[in-house]
Amino acid sequence: MLARIGVTSIDALFDEIEPALKTADFSEIDDGVDEMTMLAEMASRARRDETGPCFTGAGCYDHHIPAAVWDIAARGEFMTAYTPYQAEASQGTLQLIYEYQTMITALTALTVSNASVYDGGSALGEAVLMAVRANRRHPSMKTDGPRRVAVAGACHPHYVDAAATITRNQGIELVSTGTSGGRASLDALADMTGERAPVAVVVQQPNFFGLMEPVDEIADWASANGALVIAVVNPTSLAILRPPGEWGANGADIACGDGQPLGIPMASGGPSFGFMCTRESHVRQLPGRLVGRTVDRDNRPGFTLTLQAREQHIRRGKARSNICTNQGLLVTAATIYLAMMGPTGLARIATRCHERTRELLRTLVGIEGVATRFGGPFFHEQVIDVGQDADRVAGDLAARGIVGGLPLGRYFPELRDCLLVCATEKRTDDDIARFGDALEQVLHG
C-alpha cells in the first residue's frame, strides 16, 4: 500500500505536520490489554456497584425490559448504521422512526414528534427555545428584556438546571411559580402578567414529587394569557393519565420528557433519549430530525428524512438547534418496547407501578417516625419524611444494599429529612419488606 501511495513509511504520511507538534510521548497512557483482561477489570468494578432493589426514581426508573427488546435493538444492522442520510439504504431505521413518531404522538395526543433529542433535561431546554421561537407575537418579544418562561409547580430540578444552561445565552429566564403542598401555586402563576408575562409555561405531570399538578387550570391560564404550554411527562404514565394534547381546553403546545422508562436500562442515566412532540402548526420550529413517508420512482411507499432545512447541516447558523447526533438506538429499543407492550400492556405497567408504590408507602409509613410529606393523588413516586437527615439515611440504606430514594435536601433545604421514593412493577413484596426492614434498622438501629 505504501508503494502505491509513493512513500516508504507511514510516518511520511504525517509529513505535513510540523515536528514540534509531534513531541508528545503519551507515556502516561498504559499499554493496551486484550478483551479478556479489559472485561475482567471492568467486571470487577461493575460488581462493586451491584446493589439490591432500587427504590429511587426521580426521572430514571427500574422497569422490566423484555428480553426481546435489546436482542433486536442490538442487531448490527440497527446498531452500526449511521444517521439515515442515504434513505434507500436505511429504510429499516427510517421506518422504525416513523413508527416511533406515531407511537409517541399517540401517547402524548399531539400530532408531530421528532426523532429524539438527547434526554429529558435537554429536551426541556430545546422545548423552551422552541416555544420562544414559536410565540413570536408575544409582547415580550418586542422588548429588549429577557423572555420569561414560567415553571409551574415542581419540575425536576435537574431538568430546570439543564434548560437554564441551554437557554441562558439567548436571553431567556426561567421563573418558578413555587409550590404549595408539593404542587404549583396557581396564585403565583396568576400574578405573572403584564411585564412579567411568560412566553411559555412549563409544567411536569406527574411532577417531581410524583404528584398530580392541576394541569387543566395551568394550561387554560396559559392560553388565556398568550403563553404556550410545555408539558414534561413520563411516557409510562401516559398509558393511563390524560395526555398533554388534552390538557385544558386547547391542550399543551409542546410535550417533552425522557424515554428511559420505555425499555432503556437505568445505566447511570444514559444513554436514554429525549422526546419532543408538538402541534402540526409548529412543526417547522421543532428541532431535530423528522421522518416522513413518501414514494419512490415506482410509486412504492418509502421513508426519508424530511424538512431538513430546519437542521444545522443545511441551515447552519440559522438552524433550529445545533443537534446532529441524537439517541437513535435508544429510540429503536423504545419502539420495540412499545410495540410489545401495546396499549394494554403499558397500562398494566402503569397501574402496577401505582399499586406497588401504594404498597411501599403502606410499609414505610408503618415505621415509627416516617410519614408521607404531601397528600393527594400520586403516580408512582412520593416524598416521605424520615425525621432525620435523609442524606445520611440514604447512605446507610445503600450500605445495606438498598437504593432507597433520593434525599431532597440538596434541592429544597426544607426537605432535608425527606426522601423521594418510587416502586416500579419490578418491586416484589419481598423487596418492599427488605426496604422496610432496612429503614427500620437505619432509623431505630
Binding site: 393511563i240 412504492r300 399499586e355
Partner: protein, 487 residues
C-alpha cells in the same frame, strides 16, 4: 414483508405479547379527571410479530456490520463488541444515576480513569464528560468561552469565527450561545486563508472554531500561527474533535494551542452510531477555563471518588442533562481505550491515514479528480465529480446512489459545501485493502456506466428495497405519523 407495512398494519385488536404483562394494579384512588379516556393508539401485536417485524426491518439497513461505509467526517469504523459487553455489565446497566457515591465507586473510578485518559490524549488540563454528543460538546465549549469573557467583563466580544468548510454544528452552536458567526474563507490548498482570518480578527472576536485535520481532509499546517493570531486578538480557540481519529496518539490538540475542545467519543472511541446516536462529546479545557466546566464531573479524594457539582463550581456553565451524560458511551470509550493502550491509539491514526492515502492514490490513478491533489490525505479526503456532472450529467448524488447497488454505502456527499459535487471519503483504519480495492473497482465501473448509459446511474439505486425516493413530496405533503384506517 410488504414494503411500507408498518407495525400498525400488522396488528389486530386484542393481540398482545402477554408474557410481558404484569398483574394489573388498582388505580381507583386516582381522580378520573387525571385519567385518560381513550387508550393510546399503540400497536397490538404478539411478541413474535414484533420480533419478526423489527428483525426484517433491520435487514433494510446498510451498516458497518454488513457493508463498507466510508462516510467522511463520521468515522464509521468497527467498534469492538467487547466494549459494548463491558458497558452492559449488570453492575453498570442497573446502576441508578442518583445512587449514593458510596455505592458507586466502581462506576466513578471508570469515569475518573476516562477523564485522565482524555486529558492525556488531548493535552488539556481538565475534562468534563457530560456532553451527550459532539454538538453538545461544542455548545459547552463555546458557552465556556463566553463565560470566560463574561467573567473578565469583556462582554463586547460578540463574534465567533468559523471557516467556510466547517461542519454545520459549528455555526449553529455559536448562534445557540448568542454569538454572531463570521465565516472565514478556505484557501485553494484546503488550509484556512490565514490572511483573511487575520483580517477578521479584532475586538469583537470571542474565538474561533476549527477542526484539525479539517473537513477538507487535510491537516491545517499553519495552526500555531493561527493560534497566536487569535490569542493576540484576545480570542480563544475551540477545537472540534470530530476528526481526532486522524491524529490519535500521535499529535495533541493542546500542543497546537487550543483552549477548549470536544471529542466525539462515538467516532474515535468505540461507539457504533446506532442509526443516529447515541454519542458522547466530552470537553477538555486549558487551565484558565477549568472553573467554567459543565457539571457534574468526578474527582478523587484520597481513596474515594466523588461528584463535583452545584455550589462547588460557581463558575460552571451548569448542567447539560438530567443526570451526567451518556454514561454507557463513556464506559465503552474507557473499555476501548484500555484495549488500545498507547500503541494501539497511535496505530488507529496511522492505519486510518494509511487507508485514506491509499484509497486516494488509487482513485486518483483511476482518473477521479481530487479536491486537494497536492496534499496528503488525513484520515479522509475529497474527490469532486464536477467534470462528470458537467460532461455526463451524472452528479455526485447519482454516483452515491449507484454505489449502493454495488453493496457499498456512499461516502458523505456535498460536504464540505465549498467543493462542488463532492464526496468526502473516510475509509477508517478497520477496513482491509481488499475492501478498498473493491470500492475502487465499483467506482470505475460506475464511471464507465455513466459514460455508456448515464440514465442507469441517474435512476439508481436499482437493487434496494426501494428505488430513489421523492424527497420533495415528503416535504410538501408531510406524512409524519401512521393514520389508522377506521375499524
Amino acid at each position: 414483508m410488504t414494503p411500507g407495512d408498518t407495525i400498525f398494519d400488522i396488528g389486530s385488536p386484542g393481540r398482545r405479547a402477554s408474557a410481558q404483562y404484569p398483574a394489573a394494579g388498582d388505580v381507583s384512588d386516582l381522580p378520573t379527571s387525571c385519567l385518560r379516556t381513550q387508550p393510546p393508539g399503540l400497536p397490538e401485536v404478539s411478541e413474535l410479530q414484533a420480533v419478526r417485524h423489527y428483525t426484517n426491518l433491520s435487514a433494510r439497513n446498510f451498516s458497518i456490520d454488513t457493508q463498507f461505509y466510508p462516510l467522511g467526517s463520521c468515522t464509521m469504523k468497527y467498534n469492538p463488541r467487547g466494549a459494548h459487553r463491558a458497558a452492559s455489565l449488570p453492575g453498570f446497566s442497573n446502576r441508578h444515576p442518583l445512587a449514593p457515591a458510596s455505592a458507586s465507586q466502581g462506576f466513578l473510578a471508570c469515569l475518573h480513569d476516562l477523564q485522565e485518559t482524555l486529558k492525556q490524549v488531548t493535552g488539556m488540563a481538565a475534562v468534563s464528560l457530560t456532553p451527550m454528543a459532539g454538538a453538545q460538546g461544542e455548545f459547552a465549549g463555546v458557552a465556556m468561552i463566553r463565560a470566560w469573557h463574561d467573567a473578565r467583563g469583556d462582554a463586547g466580544r460578540r463574534e465567533i469565527l468559523v471557516p467556510t468548510a466547517a461542519h454545520g454544528t459549528n455555526p449553529a452552536t455559536a448562534v445557540m450561545c448568542g454569538y454572531q458567526v463570521r465565516e472565514v474563507a478556505v484557501a485553494e490548498d484546503g488550509d484556512v486563508d490565514v490572511a483573511a482570518l487575520k483580517e477578521a480578527l479584532g475586538e469583537r472576536t470571542a474565538g474561533i472554531m476549527l477542526t484539525n485535520p479539517s473537513t477538507c481532509g487535510v491537516f491545517e499546517r499553519r495552526i500555531r500561527e493561527i493560534a497566536d493570531a487569535v490569542h493576540t486578538a484576545g480570542g480563544l480557540l475551540y477545537y472540534d474533535g470530530a476528526n481526532l481519529n486522524a491524529i490519535l496518539g500521535n499529535v495533541r490538540p493542546g500542543d497546537m494551542g487550543f483552549d477548549v475542545l470536544h471529542m466525539n467519543l462515538h467516532k474515535t472511541f468505540a461507539t457504533p452510531h446506532g442509526g443516529g446516536g447515541p454519542g458522547s462529546g466530552p470537553v477538555g479545557v486549558a487551565e484558565r477555563l477549568v472553573p467554567h466546566l459543565p457539571t457534574p464531573f468526578v474527582v478523587r479524594d484520597g481513596d474515594a471518588y466523588r461528584w463535583v457539582e452545584g455550589d462547588e463550581m460557581p463558575g460552571s456553565i451548569g448542567r447539560l442533562s438530567a443526570f451526567m451524560g451518556n454514561a454507557g458511551i463513556l464506559l465503552r470509550a474507557l473499555a476501548y481505550a484500555r484495549m488500545l493502550g498507547r500503541e494501539g491509539m497511535r496505530r488507529v491514526a496511522e492505519y486510518a491515514t494509511l487507508n485514506a492515502n491509499y484509497l486516494m492514490a488509487r482513485l486518483a490513478d483511476a482518473g477521479f479528480e481530487l479536491a486537494y491533489p497536492e496534499r496528503r490525505a488525513s484520515h479522509e479526503f475529497i474527490i469532486t465529480f464536477r467534470n462528470e456532472a458537467k460532461t455526463l450529467g451524472v452528479t455526485a448524488m447519482d454516483f452515491a446512489k449507484r454505489l449502493l447497488d454495488f453493496g457499498f454505502h456512499a461516502p458523505t456527499t456535498y460536504f464540505p459545501l465549498l467543493v462542488p459535487e463532492c464526496f468526502l471519503i473516510e475509509p477508517t483504519e478497520t477496513e482491509t485493502k481488499a475492501e478498498l480495492d473493491a470500492f475502487v473497482d465499483a467506482m470505475v465501473r460506475i464511471r464507465a456506466e455513466a459514460e455508456a448509459d448515464p440514465e442507469r446511474v441517474r435512476t439508481a439505486p436499482h437493487t434496494l428495497p426501494v428505488s430513489r425516493l421523492d424527497d420533495v413530496k415528503a416535504a410538501r405533503e408531510l406524512d409524519l405519523t401512521h393514520v389508522r384506517s377506521p375499524t
